[in-house]
Amino acid sequence: MKIPLLLGPLSKNNPILAQILGICSALAVTAKMEPALVMGVSVTAVTALASLILSALRDAIPNRVRIIVQLVVVSALVIIIDQLLKAFAYDASKQLSVFVGLIITNCIIMGRVEAFALANKPWPSLLDGVGNGLGYAIILLLVAFFRELLGSGALFGARVIPEALYERGYANNGLMILPPAALILVGVIIWIHRARNKELIES
């Protein structure tokens, strides 16, 4: 019974593809695999912990001020993540620049807290948070995979397309590094995902 909470958001109920949450700051970090991975891990940690904490506090929070309480908890968690990144992964933190701070306004976190954590016990909320965070991370990595492979001919900074191919006239697709490519790739991923999950199709 707990398994769907964790695995559902990975594909069928994916936060980006099905619920259309959290696209805000997602795409700007997908030009390379490495920042996308760091961002995915950070968002998963914040979503899971925010769901856990707010679910544990749900009976103590007055309904009228809940948005402010949620924002305070989430910003405190993001500050911790930001300081950790600055201490242990300074380069990644510089690459992500403002997008670490923007985890606060990531709709996935507020969306899952509002829709799930405030009505459920801490343990299922934690699983739901981890599941949705991972669902987000998978899409980031998928987009980053194609952008880095086609745009720079590399994965995680390591060159994978052999030199011989370049000598025969192969060229990296410069458009893939630029922002529009991320939008078009997500559009195509949504297309494929909905073609396989017909019940998500909009009328």
């Binding site: 259309i20 805000c24 403002v98 606060i104 306004t105 709709c107 922002p179 559009g187 297309w191 995902h193």
Partner: protein
């Protein structure tokens, strides 16, 4: 003056919130079905940006940046409150949105009826928070530059959402493959619009 115009044009066209940084995508996707409502949301976002970014600039310059407290009391030079900026910025944004909602409701009920539903949404709009964080990162030097940046960003966001809403109104009658309808085609249209906005790259005044 030249510098201000440059910052304004950069923020509107080159570093456009939607097309270059994907900020505010959630409400951009959810509310862009008709031109009228999207212009309402766009104006509200632009207005909140114009209020919150300068406030956050003042807080950042006079309270949070390293050594800023030296002006207030002795020994303040060693204190760096920079790590508090996230929580302070989001609190300012939430408070300003709440305050604006109350003021608009009291004095201009007509405007409130148009914008009312969007205002609470704006508190968690990444474009607002993002603009404050960009302001901090790019280190603008004066309040005038901050205003130019906020005005440009807001106008850019308004342009983007009004443009995509107009296209979506036309697309409603187009024959799009079923799985691509709705969000999917909106992403691809936004991508194509972003490519056209890239032609502004390199413009400076």
């Amino acid at each position: 003056m030249e510098n201000l115009a440059n910052i304004f044009v950069r923020a509107t066209f080159i570093d456009n919130m939607i097309f270059a940084y994907f900020l505010g995508m959630c409400s951009y996707l959810a509310v862009s079905k008709t031109v009228k409502t999207s212009i309402g949301l766009g104006v509200a976002v632009a207005f909140v940006l114009l209020v919150t970014v300068p406030i956050n600039y003042l807080i950042n310059a006079y309270l949070l940046s390293p050594g800023a407290l030296a002006r207030l009391f002795e020994g303040g030079a060693h204190i760096d409150l920079g790590y508090l900026s996230f929580i302070v910025f989001i609190a300012v944004v939430a408070a300003v949105v709440q305050l604006l909602e109350m003021i608009i409701e009291k004095y201009t009920p007509a405007l409130y009826n148009q914008l009312g539903i969007f205002l609470p949404l704006i508190a968690v709009n990444c474009a607002i928070m993002g603009a404050s964080l960009f302001m901090q990162e790019r280190e603008y030097n004066s309040i005038a530059e901050t205003f130019a940046f906020a005005l440009g960003s807001g106008l850019g966001w308004l342009l983007a959402i009004a443009g995509v809403a107009a296209i979506r109104e036309k697309l409603a009658t187009a024959n799009i493959p079923a799985p691509l309808r709705g969000v999917g085609i909106t992403f691809i249209v936004t991508g194509l619009m972003a490519i056209s906005f890239m032609s502004f790259l390199g413009i400076s005044i």
